[in-house]
Amino acid sequence: MVQYFQDIYAAVGSALVGMGVTIKHIWKKPVTLQYPDERQVMPPRFRGFVHNDMTKCDSCGICAKLCPVDCIYIETEGKGKDRYMTRYAIDYNKCIWCSMCTENCHTGSITMSHDYDHSVYDRRTLVYEFMDPTQQKIPCHRATREELGWWVEPKAEKKAAPAKPATKPEAKPEAAPEADAKPASPADEPSGDKGEDK
């Protein structure tokens, strides 16, 4: 009998304590961010969409080799000094944002951007083509690159190399043509290069 009343007392008491906690929170400012209007500032190390600076890339292929999910596609043609890159694509369907491609890139061309907000309507538009071989093929061999002014000194340290201004304006990466086919999809280039034309 004593237990019975103790239980009732405990139930009422603990319920009131809990309600005190909740009513306290009603007057507090909510912690939610109103997402599209307010955005979190991403820390410097944040790993967003991978971006490859095509002016620096010499298509050594280490990033593709190190990718645990094989989401980077590099195609080249020719040999020796005449070796040119014809395709550099990243499949963001597969990418897991592990940053393993960036830390071994000796030219510092591939980086993790701070871009994370990237919804599309079609999964195919998530395969990003970073270059258009019909416009410009990218030389791979060191001699050729030096000759054409493409050469970038390898990173001295693991710290990110300072961004080198693009030497050739026509060498700007081209967005995937699928993006053109679907004007509704917000398929921007996943990078800091916001000003480029599509």
């Binding site: 596609y73 014809t86 395709r87 694509a89 499949d91 369907n93 395969v127």
Partner: protein
């Protein structure tokens, strides 16, 4: 208790069943004859000195192609090409299958490792599910993924894969079916080069619902 001493106890109990003691490894282990493993485990569980009341882990292993020099993973499948298709060699996998038991005693605070090896053709190991109930699921998993049949197991069904799945994925010569239950199993449906290439892209190998991205 010293692991060596545990092995000696075990060897005295099992006699022929205890095959060898591998001392000078990162993790010393005892090799037990497959037929004796259930007895060995029951002994280690019951004996007051050993008192192994926890089976930490039970792993099924396919030893096919194991080469301490690090050359080649398997003799049956040499590697995988760009599209994830295996390059199959002439040779048929014939390595042993094995099971490793990692034991721990809460009371004595010591660990012990047992291993058994069975030939690929007769991959049967006595179950230890009656010794440690936890072994039941581990053994089901080993059956499912490595294909070791545990005799005397109360409920040896597949654990992680579907009951109708064919093959045991963790075997070194396992090949993924191209299609299972109507679902294509090979990947990379979205990564076609959209730019015109010399050879026309083969559209036939794409899964129906997700056609290649045409430029």
């Amino acid at each position: 208790m010293e692991q060596k001493a545990i092995y000696e106890l075990l060897a005295a109990k099992l006699g022929e069943g205890a095959l060898a003691w591998h001392e000078d490894e990162v993790e010393p282990w005892a090799e037990i004859a497959p037929a004796a493993i259930a007895d060995a485990c029951a002994f280690l569980r019951e004996d007051r000195n050993t008192d192994f009341n926890q089976l930490m882990c039970l792993s099924g292993i396919d030893w096919d192609g194991y080469d301490e020099a690090g050359k080649g993973k398997s003799v049956a499948i040499l590697g995988y090409d760009e599209l994830g298709k295996p390059e199959v060699s002439e040779r048929i996998a014939d390595g042993d299958l094995g099971v490793a038991y990692h034991l721990y005693s809460h009371a004595q605070r010591h660990k012990f490792t047992l291993r058994v090896r069975v030939p690929r053709a007769v991959a049967e190991v006595p179950s230890v599910a009656h010794v440690w109930p936890t072994a039941a699921w581990h053994e089901r998993e080993a059956w499912d993924l490595v294909g070791i049949r545990f005799t005397g197991h109360p409920d040896l069904r597949r654990m992680l894969l579907d009951e109708a799945w064919e093959g045991h994925p963790l075997r070194k010569d396992y090949m993924m079916p191209a299609k299972w239950a109507g679902v294509p199993m090979d990947g990379r449906p979205y990564a076609d080069n959209p730019f015109p290439t010399p050879e026309p892209p083969a559209g036939g190998d794409q899964p129906g619902a997700t056609g290649p991205a045409e430029a």
